[in-house]
Subunit: 403 residues, 2 copies
């Protein structure tokens, strides 16, 4: 049995994701599709609109065979760490292939770039440093350094978000000496940052979330599979909300206003005096949107600052992130859901697997589990008390969803 | 000009307080009444029902000439530390007398007891330790130790709450070598813990708060001066709430659920594994009342556990409390309000005063001010955003209330 892995957020699962699942199978000829999916908070530093369990169901209903958790220690990170964690998990479960969507669509270009960058690492780092000194944000500094270093215009464009992730997947596979074979699919139509929904059946997750937030679920019916639509509707009906940053703002503000600047500095990604800026801006803000407008700065990307906000909200420190990310191999793999086909894969590959596969969170141990417990607690905080307490209990005892 | 000091919470100011103000003046013949009043959180570990500013107005309207802030580092503490801080401030402002209500009413009994206890300190400490080992709460252990040591039944009963405070005021005066002269007034009628309101014009603050919480303001009209009644009504109308623990429960729960047990242990008064009990009980609770029912234990008094909850909510650590309380003298005296008479006293005594008198919080410095800023932030958190932000700004810039 051959398996192809995909790194996902499914926030929410849409027709573009469905297309990718089909493509990944077709390109690789794999029998099993495995996704490693961000748990509660996402790479752009925001809460997932619905729980990992709802998103797992969306995936299993649409061709995915196994859903594994990408824990917080990797999910809310810059591309490099995010990719390292995701590849390590896909390698540990026993994937043969990985597939990712990209603006390029040419896997060779990624491999060449990884080699090229390996040869020019010192030069590149020096250029990044120079651009950073000019006040460029880190992504802008790297892309400028890259342009200066690589004058061949046929080469992979690292300014595109999915190309960056793809580059880091390929790099991680190489660095981890994994046997996984990377493949890529050209992304169809919707640009990552596109923010309005057209009548076309493919739309970006960003535009889908925007449509949900600004109007109602009906607007997205034609761009998501029916199970996604139903699951979102059910979640909203049961919990009265789809999670957004605004639901967490009171907690974030309380957290900052009740924390000394010295303590804020201990939070992961709180660098270069950002603790003062966080405190001074949040004490004047009445909403998350209002706060971000005041907080934002040329020096850091919006995404980077949202990730910092997430780490503050979840009380995640530099010290524990360093400890948690120090291991190259994940300490466990957590299974969130599977099809019968996925179940067969799990059994057949069992003997080759070194990393423990956890089906109940109660059995997870170590710093990664300790952080993840806290993350779940925080993620569930805006729910009504009865749902919050119920979901917190459930998180420990529930078995993977079988589809 | 002679001044008499009173240590108060005025939560809220009622007819019993009015009586005490009059008595304090009469007994001592003082021209000026100075109160040192708890800022935002109280000795029993709960938020004041209305802001320090409303409570200051209540006081000034009813015979008090100067209102000074008793900062959090003293206000939410066991009797000994509470009394030490309060006496230090009354001494620093230049009080000639202090007056306190007591179940005894005989100042000589307090002085004799302080001397007696000084002579039997070692014996007493040993007895307390023995009773604590038997699982007694600290107050029960001290009162049992005291009964065993002091067999004379005519002596002061330390099981009465106001006698305990009085004892510590007299002890603090002695230990701080203050020239303040202690006086006491027999408390009239209402017992401290009494919890229902009778038609009589004197009722306990506990019963008044209970009546407000369970029915409406009208129920307390006959037991408080009209200014108290109007100020409570105005506060409730403006801010939609009188502060209770339930308004802070979501924040407290979030705080505990997002904090590792090791970090919880750093919180002031979090001793002997209480961090586990806090975490395990709060994750199942849907309200503060429900939580306290689960959290309470024979080993600690309800009050002690509520104080711990307050320190968790306000993120107050052992380290900073140790630093803040290390000074015998307060680093500043903060003036919240005054009458013309009080203003005259301030001017006349200026040359003898060593401790800076702060009229705007923006000018306060040091660890005491740093903690107090955070306390104010937390206290104001449950208000509607516009009020919360406005009051936080105001706290820094507003001048004392002049009545």
């Amino acid at each position: 049995m051959k398996a192809v892995g995909i790194v996902v957020e499914y926030n929410p699962f849409h027709n573009g994701h469905l297309y990718q699942v089909e493509q990944a199978k077709e390109i690789t000829g794999a029998d099993v599709v495995i996704v490693v999916m961000s748990s509660s908070f996402l790479q752009r530093g925001e809460p997932a609109i619905v729980s990992k369990w709802s998103r797992t169901e969306m995936a299993l209903a649409n061709g995915v065979d196994l859903v594994l958790e990408l824990p917080y220690i990797y999910s809310t990170q810059k591309a490099e760490t995010f990719a390292n964690g995701a590849i390590a998990i896909l390698d540990a479960i026993g994937c043969d292939y990985v597939n990712f969507g990209s603006e390029s669509g040419d896997i060779l270009a990624f491999k060449q770039l990884v080699s090229f960058m390996n040869q020019h690492q010192t030069e590149f780092n020096k250029l990044v440093k120079e651009f950073t000194k000019l006040g460029y944000s880190y992504p802008r500094a790297t892309s400028s350094a890259f342009s200066k270093l690589q004058t061949d215009s046929n080469v992979l464009q690292l300014s595109e978000p999915n190309n960056i992730l793809g580059y880091h997947y390929v790099k991680a596979i190489k660095e981890q000496r994994s046997a996984i074979q990377a493949t890529t699919t050209l992304r169809r139509q919707a640009h990552y940052h596109e923010s309005t929904i057209s009548p076309h059946p493919i739309a970006s997750a960003t535009s889908i979330r925007k449509a949900i937030a600004e109007t109602d679920l009906q607007q997205i019916e034609h761009v998501v599979p029916k199970q996604t639509f139903n699951l979102l509707a059910t979640y909203k009906r049961n919990y009265l909300t789809l999670h957004t940053w605004e639901h967490y703002f009171d907690l974030l503000q309380y957290k900052v206003l009740s924390t000394n600047r010295e303590q804020l500095r201990e939070i992961y990604e709180c660098e270069e005096g950002l603790e003062y800026r966080v405190y001074e801006t949040i004490k004047k803000a009445s909403s998350f949107a209002e706060w971000m407008q005041e907080f934002k700065t040329k020096r850091y990307t919006w995404t980077r600052l949202q990730r910092l906000a997430t780490h503050i909200l979840t009380n995640t420190s530099k010290v524990e992130m360093e400890e948690a990310c120090a291991f190259v191999k994940p300490s466990y793999i957590r299974l969130l859901g599977m099809t019968r086909n996925g179940q067969t894969f799990i059994k057949k590959t069992k003997q080759h697997r070194e990393t423990p596969l956890i089906t109940k969170f109660a059995k997870a141990e170590g710093i990664q589990a300790q952080i993840e417990e806290r993350i779940t607690n925080v993620y569930l905080s805006p729910l009504q008390k009865k749902h919050q307490l119920h979901e917190m209990r459930q998180e420990f005892s529930r078995s993977p969803i079988i589809y």
